[in-house]
Amino acid sequence: MLGPMDYTVWTAGFLLEVVVVVSAFARSQVRRYLSLTLYMMCCGLVQCAHFYFLRKYGLSSKQYTYVYYYTESLLTISLFSVVIQLYQHVFEEMRVGKHIRTAAAVLVGATAFFSYAVIRQNQDHLTSRFVVELGQNLYFVGVVLTYLLWGAIMKLRETRTRLIQLVLALGIYFSATAGTYALRNLFPHLEVSVLHVIFPILGVWLPAAWSYTFLRVSDEARLMPAQLSVKL
């Protein structure tokens, strides 16, 4: 049963996704960040679908569970198109867009195959386990890709504040979600007490951070990436 807090977080996430799309249009950034805008649109639509299935079939129904995990997997895969576009922005002067797209497609395909191979031994719950396993591995691949992108930003001394903040927000989202998925696999009993609260909050983080970036950071804003490196 969902409480008022769940609905509040859900509504906040949906509204922030709308804000990202509207602000991208208002700041004429749709063409520049097309994948990101489309991804946020898809997130909004998926939220509506989740709500519909929740109202019709209930939280513990098979229908809602399948819709939830499958749409989440599809959204995660579509998030890779955002990562690819961010890579293209960072490497735009080197003209290596085609290689980036090929490498990312191979990596996502390999992840899906790896996830399938890992759960192949558990034939009883193949489909549901596959979705959870795939989610965890896809997010992990997202962490690795975003970390490499962050390394490239530092190495190439990228100075565009907006681009840097979009990448960092994505890095936080990927690493926090992958970590939460892994914790859920390691300690299933934490799901009821702690982890079920974290997933919706993480769902709000990405649209909140991206809407902040589009609304507050101008396209001309620049910063020195050396100021951001963590040295203890």
Partner: protein, 136 residues
């Protein structure tokens, strides 16, 4: 085995992402020099912004009228500062080097708050002069 690797690597990647993200917000104030007006009001100079000044500066910021919707930045940096303060206290006994790093991060948050206050004071003065001019 795989979940353990993913968990460790994800947490290790999360920390630099979080720190860099908040630094990217704080960085906007780094090259801004504080005005003599702010030094008059608070006694704080560009070279002497202490980590513990943050709360006092934030209180003064709240007393001034809002400027260009800077509230979101201030809230974000405030949340970062609170986390750093808690972690700094924890690290104080365990790892003094780490505690010193937290202290430096908190100092940069305080500097951000000082710049925000400076901007708001300047904005308030502009509003005041505008009102005076309108009356005349």
């Amino acid at each position: 085995m795989m979940p353990i690797i993913i968990c460790v690597f994800s947490i290790a990647a999360l920390l630099p992402f979080v720190v860099s993200y908040f630094r990217s917000i704080v960085a906007s104030s780094r090259n801004v020099a504080l005005s003599p007006r702010l030094q008059e009001v608070t006694g704080i100079t560009s070279e002497k912004v202490k980590a513990d000044d943050f709360a006092r500066l934030l209180q003064l910021v709240q007393l001034c009228p809002e400027q260009k919707d800077d509230q979101t930045d201030i809230r974000a940096v405030g949340a970062y500062y609170s986390v750093l303060a808690v972690l700094g206290r924890l690290a104080h006994t365990i790892a003094p080097n780490l505690a010193a790093w937290f202290e430096r991060e908190r100092e940069s948050c305080s500097y951000f708050a000082a710049v925000a206050l400076d901007r708001r004071i300047s904005h308030s003065r502009d509003l005041f002069s505008q009102q005076l001019a309108d009356r005349l």
